[in-house]
Symmetry: C2
Subunit: 393 residues, 2 copies
């Protein structure tokens, strides 16, 4: 099944280097890195090498500031719940934004039921947080600020560095969910001034279900997984060594090729945005014109259902998504799109088009051609569209 994958926010194909590294790991049958005999030590060395590669990609000061997890969601849960539980005596107030991923929103909801208070800051109509709003939301009770680096539905990038200056000055722990940024745009944890940063390997063509949490040295945080002494006592459990080796390989390649990937994706994004008006009319671009990821565009096509568009494109062997894959099955309109001011109807008409290093200009052209047909067909049968057309005719 040869499909044009314009749903790379949900899944990116593995790099050839990642495949080779993982297949080699499978055939090597590495022992448990915690074992003290020489085969265990050999595995521990391999684990450390992967940690150094990943630390390099985000410019961590020390490799041991990287804790391997089962992905972005675990990292976020670890960061938020771990900081909350470890610092509850100092205060029980947390600041987030209205457009965070459900991993953040549902983690703080869990904490709310335990007596924590949460302030959720609103965003402007392009989905950006104003750092001044963060400064104002912080109280004497605040122990954590968690603002995502980029949004998984719109691609809009937040002013993390500015927020980092505020949190540092006020000595408050700052977490950023960078699950859609690490490996897509340059990320430097030291420059950003964050204490915690969540990321996922598949975002940079590594395996799904593998990720990491950057924990700045000295940050007060409890483990989410209690048990053994793995990961420098920060995350118990026998390591997913095969997956971690895959992430290490992906990080190494990403470090070397990131500039090239950014330029390639930006070219495709520019093409898509430039040619979209020739394909369809009456749509809204939800992605920030300047501060946004190079690899995705969120388009709300008015008067029709995004899900119908997605399914009809699927018939043409083009994969896109209507929203976060994590929220599939939920019938509610996206909280992100409602937060940036979209109507429920426009939110339901949203497509997320996301691409990667192997996407071609031809793929974008195919998408636009197919989209034009699909939108025409759907609008012809849309009572809402016909009503609007008639009234403006």
């Amino acid at each position: 099944m040869d499909v044009v994958n314009l749903d790379q926010i949900s899944f990116k194909p593995l790099l050839a280097e990642v495949k080779a590294a993982m297949i080699n790991a499978i055939n090597q049958d590495y022992f448990n890195p915690s074992s003290q005999h020489k085969r265990g030590e050999q595995a521990a060395e391999v684990l450390d090498a992967a940690r150094r590669s990943v630390a390099g990609l985000i410019n961590a000061a020390a490799a041991k500031e990287v804790v391997f997890t089962s992905g972005g969601t675990e990292s976020v849960n670890h960061a938020i719940k771990g900081v909350a539980m470890a610092n509850a005596e100092k205060g029980k107030h947390i600041v987030i934004s209205n457009i965070e991923h459900n991993a953040v929103i549902r983690s703080v909801r869990r904490l709310k039921s335990m007596g924590f208070r949460v302030t959720s800051v609103s965003v402007d109509d392009k989905g950006r947080v104003n750092p001044r709003d963060i400064a104002e939301a912080i109280t004497d009770e605040t122990i954590l600020v968690s603002i995502m680096h980029s949004n998984n539905e719109t691609g809009t990038i937040q002013p993390i560095e500015e927020i980092g200056k505020i949190t540092r000055e006020k000595k408050i722990i700052f977490h950023t969910d960078a699950a859609d940024s690490v490996g897509v745009v340059p990320i430097d944890v030291q420059k950003l001034g964050v204490d915690l940063l969540s990321f996922a390997a598949n975002t940079f063509y590594g395996p799904p279900g593998v990720g990491g949490l950057y924990i700045r040295r000295g940050t007060r945080i409890y483990p989410l997984l209690d048990g053994g002494v793995q990961e420098h006592n920060k995350r118990a459990g026998t390591e997913n060594l095969i997956g971690i080796i895959g992430m290490g390989a992906a990080a190494q390649v990403a470090s070397a090729r990131l500039d090239q990937w950014v330029a390639h994706c930006q070219g495709l994004k520019d093409k898509l945005l430039a040619e979209l008006p020739d394909a369809i009319d009456e749509y809204i671009i939800n992605t920030h014109p300047v501060h946004s990821l190079p690899n995705m565009v969120s388009i709300s096509v008015q008067y029709i259902e995004g899900e119908s568009v997605m399914l009809m494109l699927d018939d043409d062997d083009i994969a896109v998504s209507t929203r976060s894959a994590c929220a599939t099955g939920s019938l509610r309109a996206s909280h992100v799109l409602i937060s940036i001011g979209l109507s429920h109807a426009d939110a339901q008409g949203t497509l997320v088009v996301s691409f990667g290093k192997d996407t071609t200009e031809d793929d974008i052209t195919k998408f636009l051609t197919s989209l034009k047909e699909v939108v025409t067909t759907l609008r012809n049968i849309s009572p809402l569209y016909n009503k609007v057309s008639n009234s403006t005719a």
Copy 2:
């Protein structure tokens, strides 16, 4: 490096079928199973097939009672913390035993700091819990009983079915940590009468860092990882599909070959126990003579350090462990061995010899030959041993 792996409690080599399935998964580049287009649906089908295989291995009534996790530790944390948080209004009392894995002990310790009370039941000198003690420990406030199926340091198997009868009658949620049992001995969640059961893929020659939690339909439990709607809303986060496919393949093979594996390991265990007196004297067997796993033996060699034995065997290319790999680096004597009545000195002299389907009689003979030499060498330089020898001479 060709090593005799008698540390299979820490790491088992992957089955050929597991390697093939994982390599195929890597090459297939499956999409995100949550995506709604056809490539997403294809991935969802693969995920479901793995779930059915794993459910079959533990005889779950429905495949969706199996939740995929990042391993035994996550499963245990999920079970204990998830039940505690979801049932706190009913009561805040939990019953465990003194010999649980650190994942259990540290999870309940975390809960203690949140106001939960824990009763830890002692075990007899072969490490077995008395079901009557569990019945007596249960109060009106008890919301959870968590007793491991088999112990990872001694191999002793607990009377889970009898405890299950008690918890069912008293309508209390019952979790068993079966991380060292599933795939080693037959496990039937329906027969055991447990509500929750934790397991890990590497125990049955699947990949490390992959596991599952059986959650009986209707069990009141919160997720540990909050976020997306994956795993029927029970465990958020993009799935480690490559690892899960590996676990599915391992479960399928284990279901077919378990009887054969049990017989093979039992034969090696019998041989080891029968020939050990010819190799060394003055040792204690910590493994229960009847109720224990077929694939391991815990031996406390008196008057010497287990770690020295382990390192000298390692020089002979024989891998064994002195205790749980998860506790490596901890200097304290094993709580499990102290709980069954060993002195600190004897606990420090403990070796765990664990084997698998590929272990040969020759491996056992090599181990015994090497052990004999090592123990002789170490006792010759042991002041404690010479003192005891002289006083009894």
